[in-house]
Symmetry: C2
């Protein structure tokens, strides 16, 4: 029987455009903050995993895990980069959990980092298409906004989801981000702001889209033996991963993500929980439509009713199922490799009761959904403070 | 106590310039061959890890693990890419082992793949520099041949290692590759051939350097429970990983690799073995000098005596410590993400007694050393047929 694993500390850098900091600076900053939060030192860390999607293309640097270990003074511990597009952070998190479950290590760092603003915006957009199918999607000029626009159109057609319902996702997430000092966009937006923002890929507008961001995040994980000696460990009830086709055209449905459905089913089983027991969730709102699909696929409402769920305000703090309580990808920003770890940190903060004006009162169970590309990789993690 | 883990099958594609096959074709081919070797089907596989260094830069494709799972019909199993430069394959192997040790899975594929010949040679060389330090090495124009030339000069200066001794590494490995039908260069080279080949980075010449290669490799790993039901499982006695600085200038020594020394010490401890007990080894001869350093760091001879060890023919099949018995990176080729898995397959073949004209008679224990970059990541695996 494998040990239980807990998150015993975590932190992320300010997300934004860091023209004065390199990827290595950001990685070390998050790691140091996470260790301080866990009241540990570098010498206590036995292994390191880092999620990163495309440092090779963004800044010409592969081999990032060894570099992060070096820069943080952690050599010679094993250091491994995990990549699964925008789910890279959650993959690093899951591999770190399994490293502890294997019995090899007691204290492991799972980090994520991406430096996206050192190249031109259009090059960043084509780099991100590395998450899609190069032969069938990138090569014909599709972008991720284009892919999610196809998904949005299908959802609108099939379920009557409205432009306004999608916009309300961004309104909710920006409202939360306004109170998160680490957010790239710490301000509110109105429904009208979203609906009148520039058209990117019809029906998606600028304020439906998560931004290009620099940032890093890190959590410290520990075995049960170590975690029990710590203040306020947050237990990992489950962490499950699944895959689907890269190309949208190969999917059975455009309006649900099978990888998410498979992963969340396993995650609920493993945690012995049902969707009603989840007090809050961090989901992958890379585009507003994806939060609507997420609340459906995670079982928070019936299929096709995600738009109404959002419209009825159920995702707001204080209501039925608070979603992206710190601002989500839309408000906090989306340094792709870091996002999966940032979600875990936001859950940790909530489950510790330390979310200040964004606190979900009495939160005991939190769920994170990190999605790679248009859904070819999904990771669902459930955390608990009990 | 974690389960024991065994390699129960494995195969690699022909290594070479595959202008008629894509990375996805190669990945599926190796996976299918490996499953056939293990007498299993795709439905038996529970999780997938793939090592790949730079598909983002080589072919514009990240998110490779989900793509490989899709192309092989393995969705929705968890699929994760691991990256640590030229050690990416061994990182995938090690994560697959830990996935089984965690108790989550019984049958896992560890693969590796790289498609390097779709871009111009000089672009491939700069892409490979992603394995070094972008700010301190790549940006000033260093190449990997240049980095290893610095290492070679230091070794020659410090220990009197000769040009001829380095050349004899290539002679040995090509002699073996000549009998390996999967090798990119299945022919012998003479000492004179090496010594008179084009100068690349003094003192390294063309025939000291491993080539740019397309290829893929896959192994099937199983828990003890499953492996015991199989014919001829090859047991993983240990698999250990360590890290060092990316930049050469930050190392204490240019003539040894500390990551290798740390990893091999742990690997011998875990396996309860000493260097004398190893019957053959697959080591990382990306450049000839690195095989000389490897035999020293692995404890097969004293520090500084690696050149003599090679010169005395001790690395030949039939002699004291056969090295790179199937041809090594130099003779078989070096599709960077695949090499770490290819090494495991070559050990497996030897330990099964199926190496034909290249067989090391009575081989019971084999060791693989996969190195990332100029030594910032090292993974040492010890396999046994007992």
């Amino acid at each position: 029987m494998a040990t239980k694993v807990a998150v015993i500390g975590g932190a992320y850098t300010k997300f934004g455009e860091h023209w004065d900091k390199s990827l290595r600076d950001l990685s070390v900053e998050a790691g140091a903050l996470a260790l301080a939060d866990a009241k540990l030192e570098g010498k206590d860390v036995q292994s390191l995993y880092i999620g990163n999607m495309s440092a090779g293309k963004f800044i010409g640097q592969e081999h990032l895990a060894a570099l992060a270990a070096e820069q943080a003074g952690l050599n010679p511990i094993p250091a491994t980069r995990c990549e699964g597009a925008c789910a890279s952070g959650a993959l690093a998190f899951r591999k770190a959990i399994m490293a502890i479950e294997s019995g090899r290590y007691d204290i492991v760092i799972a980090a994520g980092a991406e430096k996206m603003t050192d190249i031109k915006g259009e090059v960043a957009v084509s780099t991100l298409m590395g998450a899609g199918d190069q032969e069938w999607e990138s090569a014909i000029g599709l972008t991720f906004a284009g892919l999610y626009a196809l998904i949005a159109r299908a959802h609108m057609s099939q379920f009557g989801t409205t432009r306004e319902q999608m916009a309300l996702v961004s309104v909710n997430n920006h409202k939360n981000a306004a109170k998160n000092p680490k957010a790239q966009f710490p301000f509110e937006v109105s429904l009208e702001d979203v609906l009148t923002s520039s058209l990117i890929a019809d029906p998606l507008r600028l304020l439906d889209c998560s931004p290009i961001t620099d940032g890093s995040a890190a959590v410290v994980l520990a075995s049960e033996k170590i975690a029990k000696q710590m203040d306020n460990p947050i237990w990992i009830s489950s962490c499950e991963q699944a895959s689907d086709t890269l190309s949208l055209h190969d999917r059975k449905s455009l309006t649900e993500m099978n990888a998410t459905k498979v992963a969340v089913k396993l995650a609920y089983q493993q945690a012995g929980l049902s969707p009603e027991k989840i007090d809050l969730a961090e989901v992958h709102d890379c585009f507003s439509i994806n939060e609507i699909i997420a609340v459906e696929d995670l079982g928070f409402c019936k299929k096709g009713e995600g738009g109404k769920f959002v419209e009825q305000g159920k995702i707001a703090i204080g209501n039925e199922k608070p979603i992206n309580t710190m601002g989500g990808l839309k408000g906090i920003g989306h340094p792709v490799g870091a996002t999966g770890i940032r979600q875990i940190i936001d859950l940790m903060t909530q489950l510790r009761g330390k979310a200040g004006p964004l606190q979900v009162n009495g939160a005991k169970k939190g769920l994170a959904l990190n999605v790679g590309g248009s859904g070819a990789t999904s990771v669902v993690s459930i955390l608990s403070n009990e």
